[in-house]
């Protein structure tokens, strides 16, 4: 791996300069890639907030955020978004209750207990679960989970938050597990070896050495999972219902922010009308919520990141 172009004498300065230009070009090209993400954000902000701003000229922000009645497309129209937010949070909480423990558990098993061969089979299989389209999960929730819940005695409505939340949680297990496992896998072996050498059990190594060491990646996977839960559209569109309903009872039908946007946006409300702008008002609300979550999570990750070497 001898570095090219290391020659003594007069040739060196010329070579170095040329290489530096190439370096700058590379850096420029890479920065350009990074700018695409900035352009995307700018685009989203403009696309969402300009119409949302127009919306809030007509409907007061306070009424919007505190109102408990959401029926913007009916007469008389009500624009209280709490039922939608409540619906999203209910489903997300259920999903998180499933995905986080099961995902982390799976990851720990894969990383610390499974042999190379097992991991080689299990991990791709888990990724297959992640690849199943959300439409499929939606119908699975409706046609399999809901009847199943009814059969074991939980009296759910045909569309309900519970089925959607549980299935969404299962869908997110691979997201949490895969990223956590990658993160745990990158914890250097010497840390584990050291612990074993000191007489720790596997449980202790897993829970007291590896997981804390991989905390940044693990937390990142949790946040990604939760964010995806809040933003998930198809499962809730198909299985959770389209009845704005402010409730803590997961057996009832609800409507999430995303389902509302999809149902209304895919339809045909006339562009420019107040009803149309509700899409952007709700979209903007969703965006702000996820933004806030992410700021918090980035702070968390930074606090707990451990650096090796």
């Amino acid at each position: 791996m001898a570095s090219p172009g290391v020659t003594a004498g007069a040739g060196l300065p010329l070579r170095a300069r040329r290489r530096r230009v190439g370096e700058d070009v590379v850096k420029g090209a890479l920065a350009l890639c990074a700018l695409i993400s900035v352009a995307t954000t700018v685009g989203i902000v403009v696309a969402l907030f300009v119409p949302a701003f127009e919306f809030f000229q007509e409907i007061s922000v306070v009424d919007f955020l505190t109102g408990r009645n959401w029926s913007p497309l009916f007469e008389p129209a009500h624009f209280g978004v709490l039922p939608l937010i409540g619906g999203s949070l209910l489903v997300t909480t259920l999903a998180a209750l499933v995905a986080i423990p099961l995902g982390l558990g799976s990851a720990i098993y894969l990383s610390e207990y499974a042999g190379e061969r097992a991991r080689g089979v299990l991990k791709p299989a888990l990724e297959l679960l992640a690849g199943v389209p959300t439409v499929v999960f939606g119908y699975f929730a409706l046609t399999f989970m809901t009847p199943l819940l009814r059969r074991i005695g939980i009296d759910v409505e045909i569309f309900n938050a519970l089925s959607a939340g549980l299935v969404m949680g299962v869908m997110l297990i691979p997201t949490v597990a895969s990223l956590s496992e990658d993160s745990m896998g990158s914890v250097p072996r010497d840390l584990r070896d050291g612990a074993y050498a000191l007489g720790s059990t596997r449980v202790q190594v897993a829970t007291r050495i590896v997981v804390p060491a991989a905390a940044s990646g693990i937390i990142a996977s949790f946040v990604l999972g939760i964010s995806r839960a809040i933003g998930e559209t198809m499962i809730v569109l198909i299985a959770a219902g389209q009845q704005p309903n402010l409730t803590l009872d997961p057996r009832q039908a609800i409507e999430t922010m995303t389902a509302f946007i999809a149902a209304t946006g895919a339809g045909d409300v006339p562009t420019g009308s107040l009803e149309y702008k509700t899409i952007f008002a709700v979209g903007a609300t969703l965006f702000v919520m996820t933004l806030a979550m992410n700021v918090v999570s980035i702070r968390l990750v930074r606090r707990y990141r451990e650096v090796y070497e």
């Binding site: 993400s37 791709p124 449980v203």
Partner: protein, 279 residues
Amino acid sequence: MSRALKGGVFKALLLLSLAVGFVMLGALLVDVFRDGLPYVDWMLLSNPPSSSPLDAGARPAILATLYIAGLLLLLAVPVGVGTAIYLEEYASKTRWYNRLLEVNIQNLAAVPSIVYGILGLAFLVRGAGLGRVLLAGALILTLLVLPTVIIAAREAIRAVPDSIRQGGYALGATQWQVVSRQVLPAAIPGIATGSILALSRAIGETAPLIMIGAVTYIAFDPTLLGPFTALPIQIYSWVGLPAEEFKFLAAAAIVVLLGILLVMNALAIWLRNHYRRSW
């Protein structure tokens, strides 16, 4: 004694966590394959859709999905990895704009797919006048998966120990040489994982495509700048049709879609294993 017991219980719990996911996956697959496998035949792959289940096929949808997969590979992965390299290797962490960039990407990963759909509708379909075409769908899905690819690539690059880099610099290599010849190859397993997850998610996305108008009935092969429909949308619309045979057709289409994903996954696994190293 109790230590061993605790260990055993712990291990059992972990296995249980893993099992739940697989049991659900199993139930789903059995359900889908039982309904759909009899309907996976040459007709499904070569015929366009039809209101008569006897003749219906998913050819335009399958082709569109394959084109989109190809376009995503060409667009999302290079840009995503490029951004990740920039952030991890080149960007000075103290500069405010770089920190903002990081936050920006983290946030974009959490933006719901439906919002990307709105973005696509506003800027690509109407704004740039592309219309409701395949290219617009592919571009929007690229933007959708970009943050996930970036995040995964960053974790992978970050996982490469610094000693490797320092070693390279010590030997006089330039930054790009260190990155391209040492860091990147070492990071490929993680990048491959992240890209698979991202692409798989994109192939199955329905919401953004609905927003930019992937029509539900299209009987001809899709072109880059023509109207299109994709497999997930075809599935969604088939399940929405009253006749029961369409549910089976939808299941069959799901089988095909899963088949495509399986091939993609197998390729990525091979990549990852071929390049895996441990430190």
